[in-house]
């Protein structure tokens, strides 16, 4: 069974550029969450999407945006990159069918972004 897949695996950008990261959830999962993991720290929540709608947003600037497609895959976009955006970006998927239920979130391997 395929787990959560993310692309690309690594990316190098320069300050001011824009980046798009992609995520495909586990088959049957309808919810995707994005997290940023800076080296040496725990992941920080950025967004959660369910059925193409944003369910929740973390404390990140408007330079960060995301969307979810009809096939439940998702993109995370970051504009005007800063050096501090260098991190591992993780995508997590869950079934998402019942918002009242705390569900297991399954993480992908991440995309490592380096901003120079």
């Amino acid at each position: 069974d395929a787990g959560v897949t993310q692309s690309p695996t690594h990316l190098i950008k320069t300050r001011g550029q824009h980046v798009t990261l992609r995520c495909s959830p586990i088959s049957g999962h309808k919810s995707v969450s994005w997290y940023q993991q800076v080296l040496g720290q725990g992941p920080q929540f950025i967004f959660q999407y369910y059925e193409k709608e944003e369910r929740g947003r973390g404390n990140f600037p408007d330079r960060f945006s995301a969307r979810q497609f009809p096939n439940y895959s998702s993109e995370l976009n970051v504009n005007a990159l800063l050096l501090g955006d260098s991190a591992l970006y993780l995508c997590a998927s869950s079934w998402g069918g019942r918002a009242s239920l705390q569900e297991t979130q399954y993480f992908g391997p991440g995309t490592r972004l380096l901003v120079l």
Partner: protein, 114 residues
């Protein structure tokens, strides 16, 4: 603002030892407490999770102890093996606004020596 405090930052044990990782939280709205294991170059993988109505949960060699009144929870790894060497993250999740986000601790880097 760090909402989940994790300690220690790093831990070294001998094979067969029982490493213990501790976490504390302040927000009483948290109602789900998972532990994740992360190997270098990989995403976090769920190990075990607990809800606040339970004081202890065991899955294989992994045990979570939960103290609701003290707002603390800990992970014990029984009979630790070199293959358990990884970074461990505790997390907490509040159910609010119709979605569940994970709030992670800073992580504990565990090394199990043969």
């Amino acid at each position: 603002q760090q909402q989940v405090k994790q300690s220690p930052q790093s831990l070294i044990v001998q094979k067969g030892g029982i490493p213990i990782i501790n976490c504390a939280y302040e927000n009483t709205a948290f109602d789900y407490f998972p532990w994740y294991q992360q190997f270098p170059g990989k995403g976090p993988a769920l190990l075990i999770a607990i809800r606040p109505d339970v004081s202890e949960k065991k899955e294989g060699r992994f045990t979570i102890s939960f103290n609701k009144s003290a707002k603390q929870f800990s992970l014990h790894i029984m009979d630790s093996q070199p293959g358990d060497s990884a970074t461990y993250f505790c997390a907490a999740s509040p159910f609010s606004g119709g979605y569940n986000k994970l709030i992670f601790g800073a992580g504990t880097r565990l090394a199990v020596h043969p």
